[in-house]
């Protein structure tokens, strides 16, 4: 395997470059997935049946907290990749751990949010609006959850094997995934919560 040391570790082999390119294509598919979920949401979000609408159940505080946590985690993973590029394994791992903890915090608040809705009688089966809201949020949350476990697996591999072309490649691809989820969240925050609370 030829290693091009003029490139960052994650790009340094042919296989690595292929994997990063392939992952971008996969992100294209993920964009279509979330676009479809958004389209479903926008089609159904006024169809509340006998249940509540967004303005009645959305609470700004937890949503702002979730946003802060997720955005901060994108920042910390950026720092982590930067540290990785500098070859600083310890700093990279520290930033990645913080990222995952922030993600866990996000998930905790979101789970609490869902429990609150259910407690108020707004369940996924109450109306088309709620079905589409919770499926959109839930899919995003499921992606974050999967990401958490994926991130842990990568951390273990970096801890054991150090920073090499393979582990760097995995960590970088994971960061792409994590940033993507953050971008999706920004859309959710703006077009689901904010829009729902304003109108």
């Amino acid at each position: 395997m030829k290693i091009d040391s003029s490139l960052p570790l994650e790009y340094s082999t042919e296989e690595n470059r292929l994997k990063i390119f392939g992952f971008w294509i996969f992100l294209g598919a993920e964009i279509m997935l979330f676009a479809t979920l958004f389209a479903v949401y926008f089609t159904l979000h006024t169809r509340t049946g006998s249940g509540p609408d967004g303005a009645e159940i959305f609470e700004l505080t937890p949503v702002l907290l979730e946003t802060f946590l997720l955005l901060a985690s994108s920042f910390t993973i950026g720092l982590g990749v930067h540290a990785m590029r500098l070859g600083n394994k310890k700093a990279m791992m520290t930033f990645f751990i913080i990222t995952l903890i922030l993600g866990l915090g996000f998930l905790g608040i979101e789970i609490d949010e869902f429990f609150t809705y259910v407690h108020e009688g707004a369940t996924i089966t109450t109306s088309a609006f709620l079905s589409s809201l919770m499926t959109l949020l839930g899919t995003h949350g499921a992606h974050v959850t999967f990401g958490f476990f994926w991130g842990v697996a990568i951390l273990i591999q970096v801890a054991r094997r150090g920073l090499n072309p393979q582990t760097a490649n995995k960590a970088f691809i994971f960061s792409l995934y994590w940033h993507f989820l953050d971008v999706v969240w920004i859309f959710i925050f703006s077009f689901v919560y904010l829009k729902g609370l304003i109108s």
Binding site: L18, A29, E30, T36, L44
Partner: protein
């Protein structure tokens, strides 16, 4: 669910007979493998392979099996409707059959056939040693196979889906389809859809990043172009299906209200989601056929493909437009003149680039030297017959006219006139064309030609009458009709045609057996005097594809190299890096199958446990430190020497 409910389909004698024959078949295979002590070989060389060529062969094997099953469905339908008030099949059984016929033919016959040919040919055509992600490729196949297996299980255990391959809501909701049939639908299609999506990622990366040195995109063979564009469509269309199927499962099994008749649900939403995926899907199966025809026509007219740039451009335009036409599948849904007009225009617009391709194929033949081999016959049969499908498509595109055509046999005739002369002829042409490359011997020409003529003529006898019946008010998906309608004679004619089609396909299957027994082995590598790189390597192809990766400077480099007396594969042999086989994709998909199976019956705990096993395998794969192996120069030279008799 009681055992009786679970196995209720077996109460039908025909289903029981089919189930028994499947079980017997499976027992024979298992017994054979055990007796000949081939389990090890089978696992090492097929179940755990990551070789794109072997994966392609497995795809095609499944496709042929499914062609058989879907064909039996078709024969049963045609037999039932051959005479009015026929009692061969009752309504429920007929409904299950036309549903599975559609699902199987499109998703488990056409798709794997196309993806199989894609797998075998693309790396060879672009001068690559493998696809970008060989292990992911294996996952694609096994996930597809799991979905295929799951759907095929339905007719024995629990009952087939019966709401049409389009599964419109509310019909497909638990209110009107309470059995698990449509759970099989949402889960089996989801599984195979994952496989297809991963294929999309794999082949886009392969074609963009792994072409032979000097092969710019505009110097790539037309089949490779068609596959690149097809996979872009896959990446953008399949996620929509993923969402639609997930929402279907949620509605059916968790009581959500996406497509419900109450609480704000919108049944029309399903139709929209389904067809936003569904229309690009039919372009996914036709564009590769177009690519195959480009190769075959150029090869057997012994002339370069006319209008290369136009041919590329037209496929790009078709793929873009394919996402803008979906509402033409339900012009009658009452959304008004404006919306229908827009979609009529976008739909008719697709005829323009398609026509461009037709004329370029015709002009390729002009001044050519046309040889009527079996693959060429399929390509030639395609031109006049598919055009009928194409022009009836333009007719259907006119929204007002569609108010009379919609849901009639006219529509059924149209789509069979594009799918069979298009996709099926395409894959049959490709299959005959590339068979010697895969296996080192040719399929018998006489049998091949006989198969073609039976199919081509019988196809028209089967489906042309349906245009007339549709215009006479005969709706589709009707299990019977009364004698007073007068639909009898043409239906009988159609049935006779179907019998002819059966003979044609039987000849194709027989050809495999006959050729395997009688055709000479050690066929030369360049059987047809071909134009593209796959013909430059041996038949059958060694594991590493090319001992020396050829350098390319123009389109059809191999063709010109032959004219100039140059050996395109000459060069220094170096050790070659190959990935190792792995059983993980097979096992992962096995547990995915189990998870989906349990989910069909709402057995959530076993389903979750199976999914945990899937995640376990994924984690195992992540922690794996397998960097493949090297094939030494000595080994390569040995292999080349032993294969060189072919050249």
């Amino acid at each position: 669910m009681s055992m009786e409910e679970l196995f209720h389909p077996l109460q039908e004698p025909m289903i029981l007979a089919a189930a028994i024959s499947i079980v017997v078949g499976a027992v024979v295979v298992v017994a054979g493998l055990t007796y000949f002590k081939k389990w090890g070989y089978f696992y090492k060389n097929w179940l755990s392979t990551v070789d794109h060529k072997k994966i392609g062969i497995m795809y095609i094997a499944v496709a042929l099996l499914m062609l058989f099953r879907g064909g039996i469905d078709a024969l049963l339908m045609r037999a039932q409707t051959a005479v009015p008030d026929n009692g061969l099949l009752d309504a429920q059984h007929y409904n299950e059959i036309f549903t599975t016929h559609g699902l199987i033919m499109i998703l488990f016959m056409a798709m794997p056939f196309v993806i199989g040919l894609m797998n075998i040919v693309i790396p060879l055509q672009i001068g690559a040693r493998d696809v970008a992600f060989p292990r992911l490729n294996a996952v694609s196949f096994w996930a597809f196979a799991a979905g295929c297996g799951l759907l095929n299980l339905s007719f024995i255990i629990g009952g087939s889906p019966d709401a049409g391959w389009t599964a419109y809501f509310p019909l497909a909701s638990t209110d009107f389809s309470p059995t698990v049939g449509n759970n099989y639908y949402s889960l089996a299609l989801q599984l195979s859809g994952i496989g297809t999506l991963l294929t999309g990622v794999n082949f886009i990366t392969t074609i963009f990043k792994m072409r032979a040195p000097g092969m710019t995109l505009m110097k790539m063979p037309m089949f490779s172009w068609s596959i690149l564009i097809t996979n872009v469509i896959i990446v953008f269309a399949f996620p929509v299906l993923t969402v639609a199927l997930a929402l279907m499962m949620l509605d059916r099994q968790f009581g959500t209200k996406f497509f419900a008749m109450t609480d704000g649900g919108m049944d029309m939403l399903w139709a929209n989601l389904f067809w936003v995926w569904g229309h690009p899907e039919v372009y996914i199966v036709i564009l590769p056929a177009f690519g195959i025809f480009s190769e075959v026509i150029a090869t057997f007219a012994r002339k370069n493909l006319y209008g290369y740039k136009s041919m590329v451009m037209s496929m790009v335009v078709i793929s873009l437009l394919s996402f803008l036409v979906w509402a033409h599948h339900f012009y009658t849904m009452g959304h008004g003149v404006m919306v229908n007009s827009v979609f009529s225009i976008t739909t008719m617009a697709i005829a323009v680039p398609t026509g461009v391709k037709m004329f370029n194929w015709l002009l390729t033949m002009r001044h050519g030297k046309i040889q009527f081999t079996t693959p060429m016959l399929y390509a030639l049969g395609f031109i006049p017959i598919f055009t009928i499908g194409g022009v009836t498509g333009v007719m259907l595109a006119m929204a007002s006219a569609d108010y009379q055509y919609h849901n009639t046999m006219f529509l059924v005739a149209h789509f069979h006139y594009v799918l069979i002369p298009g996709t099926v002829f395409g894959v049959l042409a490709g299959y005959h064309f590339w068979w010697p490359k895969m296996f080192g011997f040719r399929l018998n020409e006489k049998l091949g030609k006989a198969g073609f003529w039976f199919i081509a003529i019988s196809f028209n006898v089967t489906f042309f009458p349906l245009f007339i019946l549709g215009l006479d008010g005969y709706a589709r998906r009707m299990y019977t009709y009364s004698a007073s309608t007068g639909y009898g004679p043409l239906n009988m004619l159609s049935f006779i045609g179907a019998l002819g089609l059966a003979v044609g396909f039987a000849l194709i299957c027989y050809n495999i057996y006959y050729s395997w027994k009688h055709m000479p082995r050690n066929e030369k590598a360049d059987v047809w005097d071909g134009r593209s790189l796959e013909w430059a390597t041996h038949s059958p192809v060694p594991e590493y594809n090319f001992a020396v990766v050829p350098t390319v400077s123009r389109l059809d480099e191999f063709w010109f190299a032959k004219k100039e007396g140059r050996d395109i594969t000459a060069g220094k042999i170096e050790k070659i890096h190959m990935p190792n086989n792995t059983g993980t994709p097979f096992w992962t998909s096995g547990f995915l199958f189990l998870a989906a199976f349990f989910a069909v019956f709402s057995l959530w705990i076993p389903a979750i446990i199976s999914m945990l096993a899937v995640f376990g395998f994924m984690a195992h794969r992540s922690f794996e430190d397998d960097h493949g192996r090297y094939i030494s120069v000595e080994e390569i030279m040995e292999t080349e020497k032993s294969l060189r008799g072919d050249k």
